[in-house]
Symmetry: C2
Subunit: 205 residues, 2 copies
Amino acid sequence: MPEFARGFVRDMRPRWAFEEVGQPYAVNLIADSKCPEHRRWQPFGQVPTYRDDEVAIFESGAIVLRIAERAGKLVPVDPAARMRALQWLAAALNSVEPFVMAVAVNDIFEADREWSKARHVKVVDDLKTRLGDLEAALGDKAWLDGDAFTVGDLMMISVLGGLRRTGLLRDFPRLASYVARGESRPAYRKAMEDHMATFDAPASA
Amino acid sequence: MPEFARGFVRDMRPRWAFEEVGQPYAVNLIADSKCPEHRRWQPFGQVPTYRDDEVAIFESGAIVLRIAERAGKLVPVDPAARMRALQWLAAALNSVEPFVMAVAVNDIFEADREWSKARHVKVVDDLKTRLGDLEAALGDKAWLDGDAFTVGDLMMISVLGGLRRTGLLRDFPRLASYVARGESRPAYRKAMEDHMATFDAPASA
C-alpha cells in the first residue's frame, strides 16, 4: 500500500460498522488484490470483501448494510426512517463520492497529466456545489436524519473523510463538524487504530 | 430537458422497477428541479424523487430498492442471494457508474474545455478496465447472479445503458448482449416508451 493510502482504504467502512454494532471480526490481509484468487470474490480486484456464516459479498456499501442488518443496528426499524437511512447510504455512494473521487483522481492519480492543474478548478467547483447542497440538507441536525446515527451517516462520513487532507471542508463548517462528530465516535477511533496498524503488518497471499 | 437527455434521465430507473413488479404509479413532472420546493425532497436539485403511503425518498438506488421490497420482487428472499443482489446494486452505483459518468462529463459537459480531447483517452481506458472486469464476472450467465433478474441487474443495465451512444460496449460482446437482454424486457420497453413521452408533455411547477 502506498503511503498516501493510509487512513483511506475502504476496509475502514466495515471495520467502523463492526465496531458500532459490537460484532467481533477477523481480518485477512491480501498481498495482491489483482490476483485471480481474489478476483473470484471481487471482480474489480479491490478491497474489502466480506464473509459470514451465510453471506459472501463485496462492495463496501453492501457490506456495511449486511453488518448493520445482521446486528439489527444502524438501520431503523420504522419503514420510513429505514428507507431514509438507505437513501443517505445511496447518496454517499452515488451522489457525493464520485465528486470526492474526481478531485482525488485529478489531483493525485492524474497529477502528472497536462490537464491536471487546469482541471483542478473545475472538479473542486463541482464538488463544492455538492457539498453546499449536502450542508443545507444537514442543517443544524446532529446526523443526516436527525438524532439517530445510521448506516447513511457512517457511509457519508467515510466518504467525506476522503477530503481530510484537502482542506476543502473548511468552507463548510457544519459538514466539517458533522465529520468530526462521526470521527470522534469510539467505534470510529477503534476502527481507524486497527486500520492503521495493518500498514505495519505482514500480508499473506 | 436538453435533447441529449432523452432516454438517459434517471426517472427511467423507478419506471422500469414499477413495470417489472406490476405496480401502477403516477408521475409528477417538475419544471425546475433546482427550485427550493423541489430541494426539500431532493437536496441536490435532481430527479427522481419517490413517495408512497409510507415512505418519501430520493436517490434512484434507494427508490428502486423500495419499489422492489414493497412488491416482494426483484430481491431474492434467500439471505445470501439477497445480499448478492444488493452488492450488484451497490456495484452499479459506486464501482461502474462513476466511470461511465466520467466519460459523459468529459465528452459532453467538458467538451469545450481545453483538456477534453487529451483526457478522453484516459477516461475511456479507465472505463474499459472496469467493463472488462465486469464482463469477466458476468461470464456466460444471463444475469449477474445467474438465472434470476434482480435489482442489481436493473441498476447495472440502467448504468451501462448510459453508454448506448458511445459505441464503447462493442468491445465487450457479453456485456452488450446483457444490456440488450435487459432492454428487451417488456417492462423496460414500456418504461422507456413512457419516459420518452414525457419529453413532449408540458411540465408543471
